[in-house]
Every structure is written in structure tokens, then in C-alpha cells.
């Protein structure tokens, strides 16, 4: 695949390196240092940082504003955008805003339902869905057009990705769904956190059988478990999350004070195993409010140092 944007992440993937991305959740307030400090913890160990968009429907500093803080400190941001909160006017407007700061990566999502968050009485928009958002970015980037048909002066240059959850139901359309996202223009994929590696391998096999791994870059998602409680919560309470019983047992059987270390061990073992899975082109490490552990995970998983590729500014 040839490079289409100035994105550093795209270059790293195109050159055949295993990419490493991580993420920063913006703060529940306006202090820019909350973003900057998180990014400083991980910036030397990852190629790009996702900035979540009001994740779990809890109101936070905007993803775009937090991305701009990252960009200004020389870190490569991945703008996450959900279709829950904005109509097509606001979406196109924010894409142009991001492009004006030379943000070169975007992840298109539908977003958690607002009933999980701090405004359950609010409306959701979903004027577009995540696939239609991918199509919109491509129209703006590749054809230089707005949805309304007019030309865009200085079109955005965004390397555009989507999420995939190999563990959600119905399982039989999980691969067709990926194919559909690729058809809509997903150039990279970040997956849901993988704990059930067997099931992930089954999904990847089907992905490779259809040749989809050659049409997009798949980054395997991992999240270190902090405790047995978190493992059980993820299994029982987080929709679309698959934490097998042997992982739960391993955490439960570990003394409480050793559980964080064991969670990180599991995460590193998972990365090691996933490295040999055909079609995996990198890792997306989501250390939820535990960013300080990312450098150690990246180093112990043999993914450090990161390739030296200068971002275009």
C-alpha cells in the first residue's frame, strides 16, 4: 500500500514496522497539563496517541482540543470521532479544524450509547454511522469535496481508521463487518481489547482467508488488567468484552498486591503471542488511567525503541 497522507503512523505501517499506538483520555476539566502529562509519560514509546472522544459518554475536554495540545508538543495524535454527538455539519467542520492543525490520523467510531454516561437524558445524533463517517473523510480527502458537493480549499490529509470488535455478536458477521469497513475506506483498524486470544486467532484466520489483512493494517488492542476486580468487571459489565475464565482465575489466584504485575505479565504474553498471528501489523495499548505502565510494557514486549520517522508539520 502506498502512502496517501503525511501521517507518521501510515509511514511506519507502510514500511513494514510493527506499529505501537496508545491512548489518552482527555480530562474532566480544562487543564491542558492533564493531557500533556499523560502524553509525556508515553510519547517516546509509541508512534501515535489516540485521543478518545467523550468515551463511555462521559463529558470531557474535546478530543480535537486535546489532539491540538499533543500536536503542539510534537506528538502524533489520532483524532477519535464518534457519530453520537455531532451531525454531518459539525463532523465536517471538526475534520477541517483538525486538518488546519495538521492532524493526520483519525479513527471513526459510533460511540457508546449516552445512557452509560453523565448525560443519559440527552439526545444522540447518529446522523451518520461509523461507516458513513469513513466515507465522508474519504470524500473530503480524496475528492476534495464536502458532502454537499462543493469543493474544499486545502482538503484534509487524514490517515483514516476504524475499530473492530472480534468478540461481539453475531460472530458470523464480524469478518463481513470488517470487510464493509474496509470497503468504506478503513486504512487501519484498532481492535477491541484482546484477552481471548484463541477467538481472536479464529477471527484473524477468517480475515486472512478473505485477504482483508492485505487491504488494511490491523493493530491488535490490549489492555493490562489492574486487578481481579477489573477483570471481572470487564467480563460481566462491559458490553462486547470477552475475558475468558482462565484469565480471571489467573488474576484471582494472584495475591492482591501482586495483581497489577500479573495483569502486565498477561498483557506482555498476549502481545508476544499476537506477534506471530498472521495479519497483525501492530499493537494498540489501552492502559486505562495507567499510562505510566505503557513504556515498561512496550520495552518488555520487545517493541522498543520505536522507528525514527519524523512527522511532517
Amino acid at each position: 500500500m502506498s502512502v496517501k497522507t503525511p501521517s507518521k503512523l501510515e509511514k511506519i505501517l507502510t514500511e513494514g514496522h510493527l506499529a505501537v499506538t496508545s491512548e489518552c483520555g482527555p480530562p474532566r476539566g480544562s487543564d491542558p497539563n492533564a493531557v500533556i502529562e499523560k502524553a509525556n509519560l508515553i510519547k517516546n514509546h509509541v508512534d501515535a496517541i489516540n485521543v478518545t472522544d467523550n468515551q463511555t459518554s462521559v463529558t470531557r475536554m474535546s478530543s480535537l482540543a486535546a489532539c491540538i495540545h499533543l500536536k503542539q508538543m510534537g506528538v502524533e495524535p489520532i483524532l477519535q470521532m464518534v457519530t453520537r454527538d455531532k451531525n454531518r455539519i459539525a463532523i465536517q467542520s471538526d475534520i477541517l479544524g483538525a486538518a488546519s492543525f495538521d492532524i493526520f490520523n483519525m479513527l471513526c467510531l459510533s460511540g457508546d450509547h449516552q445512557s452509560f454516561g453523565d448525560c443519559p437524558q440527552g439526545q444522540n445524533v447518529h446522523d451518520l454511522d461509523s461507516m458513513q463517517l469513513l466515507q465522508t473523510v474519504h470524500l473530503m480527502r480524496d475528492e476534495g469535496k464536502f458532502l454537499g458537493g462543493a469543493d474544499i480549499k486545502r482538503p484534509p490529509k487524514l490517515f483514516v481508521g476504524a475499530a473492530a470488535n472480534p468478540f461481539a455478536d453475531p460472530f458470523e458477521i464480524r469478518v463481513p463487518r470488517l470487510a464493509k469497513k474496509i470497503a468504506c475506506g478503513a486504512e487501519f483498524i484498532q481492535t477491541q481489547c484482546i484477552y481471548n486470544v484463541d477467538k481472536f486467532e479464529e477471527w484473524m484466520k477468517q480475515v486472512c482467508d478473505r485477504g482483508l489483512h492485505e487491504q488494511t493494517y490491523i493493530l491488535a488492542g490490549v489492555t493490562p488488567l489492574k486487578s481481579a476486580g477489573m477483570a471481572k468487571f470487564m467480563k460481566n459489565r462491559v458490553p462486547g468484552m470477552d475475558v475468558p475464565d482462565d484469565v480471571i482465575k489467573r488474576m484471582v489466584d494472584t495475591p492482591k498486591e501482586k495483581q497489577p504485575e500479573e495483569g502486565i505479565n498477561i498483557c506482555i504474553e498476549t502481545i508476544e503471542r499476537l506477534k506471530s498471528v498472521e495479519g497483525v501489523k501492530g499493537f494498540h495499548i489501552m492502559a486505562i488511567e495507567w499510562e505510566e505502565k505503557v513504556p515498561g510494557i512496550v520495552e518488555r514486549a520487545g517493541l522498543y525503541p520505536r522507528p525514527k520517522i519524523e512527522a511532517e508539520n
Binding site: 461509523s130 465522508t136 455478536d169 453475531p170 458470523e172 458477521i173 470497503a183 458490553p239
Partner: protein, 222 residues
């Protein structure tokens, strides 16, 4: 049909507590079927209000009428002679009926006695569920006869989100995942490959977004 449910009686009392002559007006259509605003519910509400006023030591006359429909001029005319004699009318019709009443009878306040909920069906006695949001641009032909606009909590048009689990929606284990139903149905029809057809960006101008809607049929106008 239009599905409604009864408003809490306290809310209705707030509207009419100072009035002396009140009409409770039912509707014999959808709200009768969903047991929220038919003749039976008119009787129950009237009795409840009579008890309330009796306990308050107030003498209030409460009448009961149920019309064939409240969304039709012809039937609303049936109360032409009496409407103005009331201090208030509580309509147990859907929001359409309440508004049509208010447009027709200007000198008497019309209060809603039900909350209008959705366009739905009776699954079983006492259970009504949503089926349509009247988006004005029906796509059931490509989704196996199951509507993602009304039945997916995110009205996703291209497949289930990552929160679909064991056939249920991420927001509640009591709600079916619309896309699981669509996939099951496409499979039963031998059309699962249709799932991969991308549904392009929808024109929502025929939905609520386009402003108050109107259907004009010159061929049937008199």
C-alpha cells in the same frame, strides 16, 4: 398504531384542580387498543378524579365521552354543542388528538391525559414495543423487514455496534439487538451476503429533521 401510556393522575390533577366542570374525552382508536385512553380508561380516570375532589370537599362535575377518533374533524364535531360548557377537557387521545381538539375548540383548555410514546405493536397483552419512527424514507426492503432506525439504540444503518451481546443491545438485556434480528432474518432468507452492501448516507430531510411534515395527495382531494 400509536402507543401511549397514562399520565400520572397527580399531573392531571395539577392541570384541573381549580375547575368545576370537566370533560374526560377518550378515543376509540390506538389508545383503546393500548389500554391508555379508551372508554374503560376514561371511566377509571373520571372515578379517580371524583374521589379526589370528594376528599377535597369540592363539588366538581366530571363527564365522560369517548369519540370514534380525535384525529378527524367529523368525529370532533360530535361535541360541538357541549365543548364550551366545560372549564377543562382532558383528552386521553394521542398528541395528535389533543392538538386537533385544541385547534378546533379555542375557548376551553385541553390537557393531555396520556404520554404519547411511539409507533408500535402489541406483542402480548400489556406489552407494546416500538417498530417505526416515521422517518419518511422506508428502508425495510433492504434490512430484512426489521427497522434499524427505530430498533437500534444508535440507529446504525450498516450493522451492529461492538456492544451487541448474545442477541441483546448494549443498553439493556431486555432489548433485542436490531442487527442480530436483521442478520438472523437475512440468513433465514438466504440473503446474508446482502449485509455487505453498504447503506450510504441517509437523507434525513424526510424525518423530523426536515421540519413539520405534510402529505399532500391531490388525486384524493375533494
Amino acid at each position: 398504531m400509536i402507543v401511549a401510556e397514562k399520565k400520572p393522575v397527580e399531573e392531571i390533577i395539577e392541570f384541573i384542580k381549580e375547575d368545576k366542570k370537566i370533560l374526560i374525552l377518550g378515543c376509540n382508536e390506538c389508545v383503546t387498543v393500548c389500554e391508555a385512553g379508551g372508554k374503560k380508561e376514561v371511566g377509571i380516570l373520571a372515578s379517580t378524579l371524583r374521589m379526589y375532589f370528594l376528599n377535597q370537599g369540592k363539588e366538581v362535575k366530571i363527564d365522560e365521552i369517548t369519540l370514534e377518533r380525535q384525529c378527524d374533524h367529523e368525529y370532533l364535531e360530535e361535541i360541538r354543542d357541549v365543548a364550551d360548557t366545560y372549564d377543562a377537557i382532558v383528552s386521553l387521545a394521542c398528541g395528535v388528538g389533543v392538538q386537533f381538539m385544541a385547534e378546533k375548540y379555542h375557548s376551553v383548555p385541553i390537557y393531555p391525559g396520556v404520554n404519547t410514546c411511539f409507533l408500535g405493536a402489541t406483542e402480548e397483552r400489556g406489552l407494546w414495543t416500538e417498530r417505526c419512527q416515521a422517518c419518511g424514507n422506508c428502508m425495510l426492503g433492504i434490512t430484512g423487514g426489521i427497522c434499524p432506525v427505530s430498533r437500534c439504540a444508535k440507529r446504525l444503518l450498516n450493522g451492529p455496534c461492538g456492544g451487541s451481546s448474545k442477541g441483546k443491545c448494549e443498553i439493556s438485556k431486555d432489548i433485542d439487538c436490531a442487527w442480530q434480528l436483521i442478520i438472523d432474518r437475512l440468513k433465514a432468507l438466504g440473503r446474508l451476503e446482502d449485509y455487505e452492501k453498504v447503506c450510504s448516507i441517509k437523507d434525513w430531510s424526510t424525518d423530523r429533521a426536515g421540519g413539520p411534515r405534510k402529505v399532500v395527495r391531490e388525486d384524493v382531494q375533494i
